[in-house]
Symmetry: C2
Subunit: 528 residues, 2 copies
C-alpha cells in the first residue's frame, strides 16, 4: 500500500488555501495535462450514427427563438407554433377526466374516502392497487407489468378483435411504445456481415426505427410506401426490398406502422393480409406499430389489427407467424405522452425466447407504474352503466371529432397551395405533404450543406414561427421533398398556421423562382 | 402485381368455414413447415449473455410457491418473505404524504381547489405544471427533463455539497438510475479486441452493471472490495485490476457504488479522494452510483459525494475529471420505485459529447413525468416554515430510524450464527453475509450444476419461504459464499426472518456436516 501511495502521489495536490475554483487547467501543473476520456473520437460509433429528426436541430432552434421571444426580442411573429411532435396535451388538448381521477386516486389513496370522486374511478383504482406490491404505486411491479392490467389488456384486445383470443401472458407493459420496439429489435439483432439482421421499415418512417437500428448496429432495409396511391403498402415493393437486401444482409423482421406515421394512411384489410402472407412465406417476424389504432378519421377507413387479420387467415398463419403489436398511452384520444405508458402483445414467440425477453426487461426492473395505470384506464374505460360513462364519452368524442375535422381542414388547405400536394390524412395525427422546392433553393441549400427540405423548414420557422420536421428526417424518395406537421393545434390555431404556411410557401416560390417563371406557373403536377 | 400474387398464392389459405383456431400446424400443409425466425440460435448473443440475479430463477420460484400457498397447497411456512429486492413499499413502508400529495395534485389539477391539500404541496404542483407543455403531466417534457426540476436538482446538489457549484444544464432526469447508468455506458463503448472499452466494477456489484456490460458487449473489469476490511475500496486493488485489464482491453470507466450495494459499506472521504486521484491519473471516467446517499446508519459514517470530494481536491481535478453521479426516487426514505424517477449530473463532459447524449436520450423522447415530479419533491422537500414540514420530518425520520435499527438488528443476529459472518450494514438497504457451506453441500450442488450459494438459497426458500439472492449473482471471491438480503421487512417480520434463517442454517450445517463434525465445531473463523 505504501509503495502504491508513493508511486501515485497526486500531481495536482493543492494546499487547502488554494482550493478555490479555477476556470482552467493550472499552468504550473507538471506533466501531461489530463485528456478527456470520452470524446467524439472515442464515442460509441453506433451512437454517433443515430439520428432523430423529431427532436433535432430544428426543434432546438425553435426553443431558441421561443426564449428570445420571451426576452422581448422582436420577431416577425408573436409565438412559435410547435407542429413537430405528436404531443397533444402540449397543444392544449385536455386530459380525459376519468383517467386522471384514477391516477390521482392511486397516487394518493386517501382520496378514496373523498366524495368528490366517482365510484367507478375508485373501483378501478382499488383494483389496480390490490395487485401492486404493498398496494402501492411506489412498489416495483413485475417486470412484465401489473398482473390485473395485463389481464385487462388481453380482454381489450379480444373485444377489439371481435373475439380473437388473447393470452395475458403474452402481454408486456412498456415505457411507451418506443421502449417495446427497442426491446424486440434488440432480441433480433445478430450475425455479422451478410448474415447481420436486416430490419425492413417503411419509407417514410417514424425515425425511432432508424435510430434504434443505428444504435443496435442492424441493417436498415427500406421499402417505399406508394405516395401516388395514398401511401399504400405494395407487396411487390416489399418483395423487391427483401430480395435486394438478401444480397448484403439477412432480413428477419418487417416493421409496419398502421395507421401511418408520418404518412397518415390507414391500411385496408386486403393489404394487411398480403403483407402477412409475405411475412409468412419469407419467415419474417412482424412488428406492427398500432399506436394510432384509435385515430381513424376517414369515413371509408377502418382500423384492422394485424392480429385479427392473421386470425382470419386461418390457424396455419395464426399459430405460427411471429407477430408483436405495440400500443401506447401517448396517442389515441388520451394523448398521455408524459406518462410513458404502453404495451406489446407477442404472438408465437419461442418459449425460450420469451424467457429471454422477460430476463431482458427485468434488468430495468419494471415500466413506470403510473403509466401502467393510465394504460389500464385506456383498455378498461367506463362502461355504459357506470357513473363516469356520459362524461367520458363526451370527452372522448370531442377529441376525436376535433381531430377528424382538423385532418380534413389540413388536407384541404395544403392541397390548395400551388406546389404542394397532400394525401388524405386518413388516420394518426400528421400530414406529410410533398412540396415543390425550386432548383435555385435546392442549390442554395446545397451550398449550406443542408437537405433542401431542412432549408425550407428552417426558413419557415424563422419567418413564421411554425415548427415542422423536414421529410428528410423520415426518409423519402430521392428528389422528392416533404415535411411532417401535426394536426394537433386547436382548429383556430391550425387555420392560422395553414394560412401562414400558404403565404410563406408562395413567397418562397417567388423568391427562388427563375426570373422567367411567375408563381402562377409553378407546376403542382410536377411533383413526383 | 399480378405476377407477384400468382407467385405467392397462400399455401395455407383456408375457407371461411375452417377458420376455427387449431392448436398445431395442420398436417395437410404442403411444403416446409414455417420455421420460427427468432430462436435461441438466432437470438442476439449479447442478450443471451445477460444475467440479472435480483429477478432471476430464485424469484420466479418464490412466485410459484406464493401462488401455491394462495391455492391452499400446504408448505412448511405460511408466507413467502421477499428479502431479495430493495423495494421498500412492497415491504410495507408507507409513502411520504407530501410527495404523494404533489403527484396527485399534478395528476388531477382540479384538486388545487381542494382545501384538503396543504398550500406548500399546491405551490410545488403549480410550479412544476407551469413548466410542463400545456401545463400538463401528459405532455412530453424536454428530453433532459422539466427545466424547473433540473434547476431544483442543481440547487439541491449545491446545498448537499455545502456550496459546491452545480449547473442545471448538467442535470438530466432519467427513468430510474438504471436508465442513466445504461445511457452513459452506451456512450462509452467502442473499439474492438484489445481496444474494446473496459468497465471497472466492484465485486460484489449490483448486477445491473454486469448486465449492461453484457448487453453492450463491453469488457467487465472486476476489482474486489476488501471483505476483511468492511468492504473497503483499496486503490492498490484498483491498480492491479487496471493493469491486468490493460493486457486485453482498454479500461475507460470506473464504476463505484457508495453506499454499497450489495455490501452496505459507506466510503470514507480519504478513500474517495484516493479513488478520484487514481481515476484522474489513469484517465478514467468515474460513474458514481450514489442512490443510497440518504441511507447512512452507522454513527461514525457520513455520506461524501464524489463531486464534493473532487471539488476539495482543487480545480485541476474539479475542472477536468469526467464524473457522472446518479440518484433515484427508489431508495432513500421515499422508496418510490414504481415511479421510475432519477437523475444524473455530468461533470466535465466534452460539449460535443453532451450534444450526443442529448440526441441519444431524445430518441426515447423523455423520462416519465410523474417520476420527475417525485424527484422534484425529494430534492425540494417542505422547509421549516412551511405547513407540511412537521409531518414530513416525522415521516422521514420514522423511516430512517427504523432502517437504522434494522441494520443493527440484522448485523447482530447474522453474526450470532455459527458459520456466518456479516460486515456492519453502514448504509444502503442490504446485508451481505458470508456463509460457510460444508464440502458435502458443495458437492451436492455441483452434481446439480448449481452454484453452491444458489443451492443454499433455494433450500432456504423451499424450507422457510425466505427469498434472498445468492452471492454468485453479485460476484464474490472464488471459494467464498454469500447471500444478499434486504433489511426492509418490518422489524417484527425481520426478527422472525432472522430467527428462521438461523435455524435453517444450523439445520443445513448439520445435514451436510461430515459424520465426525458436530455443529458446535463449525469453524466461523474458517471464512475467507
Amino acid at each position: 500500500m505504501l509503495r502504491l501511495l508513493h508511486r501515485s502521489l497526486p500531481r495536482a495536490r493543492r494546499s487547502a488555501a488554494s482550493r478555490s475554483l479555477g476556470t482552467a487547467a493550472e499552468p504550473g501543473h507538471a506533466g501531461r495535462p489530463r485528456e478527456r476520456t470520452l470524446t467524439m473520437e472515442t464515442l460509441n460509433p453506433l451512437v454517433k450514427a443515430v439520428e432523430y429528426a423529431v427532436r433535432g436541430p430544428i426543434v432546438t432552434k425553435a426553443g431558441d427563438i421561443e426564449r428570445r421571444l420571451q426576452q422581448g426580442v422582436k420577431q416577425p411573429f408573436s409565438e412559435v407554433i410547435k407542429a413537430n411532435i405528436g404531443d397533444a396535451q402540449a397543444m392544449g388538448q385536455q386530459p380525459i377526466t376519468f383517467l386522471r381521477q384514477v391516477v390521482a386516486l392511486c397516487s394518493f389513496p386517501e382520496l378514496l374516502e373523498s366524495p368528490a370522486f366517482p365510484e367507478d374511478a375508485k373501483q378501478r383504482a382499488k383494483r389496480v392497487l390490490q395487485d401492486c406490491g404493498g398496494q402501492s404505486l411506489g412498489a416495483y411491479s413485475n417486470s412484465e407489468g401489473v398482473e390485473c392490467i395485463r389481464r385487462d389488456i388481453a380482454d381489450y384486445i379480444s373485444r377489439r378483435d371481435h373475439g380473437v383470443p388473447s393470452d395475458w401472458d403474452n402481454v408486456y407493459l412498456t415505457t411507451g411504445a418506443s421502449d417495446g420496439i427497442m426491446t424486440i429489435l434488440k432480441l433480433l439483432v445478430s450475425g455479422q456481415g451478410r448474415s447481420r439482421t436486416g430490419v425492413m421499415i417503411p419509407i417514410p418512417q417514424y425515425p425511432l426505427y432508424s435510430a434504434a437500428i443505428s444504435e443496435l448496429g442492424a441493417v436498415q432495409v427500406n421499402y417505399y410506401l406508394d405516395e401516388r396511391n395514398c401511401w399504400a403498402l405494395d407487396t411487390e415493393e416489399l418483395q423487391r426490398a427483401f430480395l435486394d437486401a438478401k444480397q448484403h444482409c439477412r432480413p428477419r423482421v418487417l416493421c409496419i406502422i398502421n395507421p401511418g406515421n408520418p404518412t397518415g394512411q390507414v391500411q385496408s384489410k386486403k393489404c394487411i393480409e398480403e403483407v402477412l402472407h409475405f411475412a409468412y412465406e419469407e419467415n419474417l417476424l412482424v412488428m406492427a406499430d398500432e399506436v394510432y389504432q384509435d385515430n381513424v378519421y376517414a369515413p371509408d377507413c377502418q382500423f384492422h389489427s394485424f392480429k385479427k387479420v392473421l386470425y382470419e387467415m386461418g390457424p396455419e398463419y395464426f399459430n405460427h407467424l411471429e407477430l408483436v403489436s405495440f400500443h401506447s398511452t401517448s396517442k389515441g384520444y388520451t394523448g398521455e405522452c408524459g406518462f410513458r405508458g404502453g404495451y406489446m402483445e407477442v404472438l408465437n414467440l419461442d418459449p425460450d425466447v420469451k424467457a429471454q425477453l422477460v430476463k431482458l426487461v427485468s434488468v430495468r426492473i419494471c415500466p413506470p407504474v403510473p403509466g401502467q395505470v393510465a394504460m389500464d384506464v385506456i383498455v378498461n374505460p367506463p362502461r355504459e352503466h357506470e357513473p363516469s360513462y356520459a362524461q367520458f364519452i363526451k370527452e372522448k368524442n370531442s377529441v376525436l371529432d376535433a381531430l377528424a375535422h382538423k385532418s380534413r381542414l389540413t388536407e384541404q388547405i395544403l392541397n390548395s397551395v400551388p406546389g404542394m400536394q397532400c394525401n388524405p390524412v386518413q388516420g394518426a395525427m400528421y400530414a406529410f405533404p410533398q412540396i415543390f422546392i425550386p432548383p435555385r433553393a435546392i442549390q442554395e441549400a446545397q451550398l449550406l450543406s443542408m437537405a433542401p427540405d431542412m432549408f425550407y423548414c428552417l426558413k419557415l420557422l424563422e419567418e413564421t414561427g411554425i415548427c415542422v420536421v423536414p421529410g428528410s428526417g423520415f426518409g423519402q424518395r430521392e428528389g422528392t421533398y416533404h415535411f411532417r406537421m401535426t394536426i394537433l393545434p386547436s382548429a383556430e390555431k391550425l387555420t392560422l398556421l395553414l394560412g401562414k404556411l400558404k403565404d410563406f410557401h408562395l413567397r418562397f416560390l417567388e423568391q427562388y423562382s427563375e426570373a422567367q417563371t411567375s408563381v402562377g406557373e409553378v407546376p403542382g403536377d410536377g411533383l413526383q
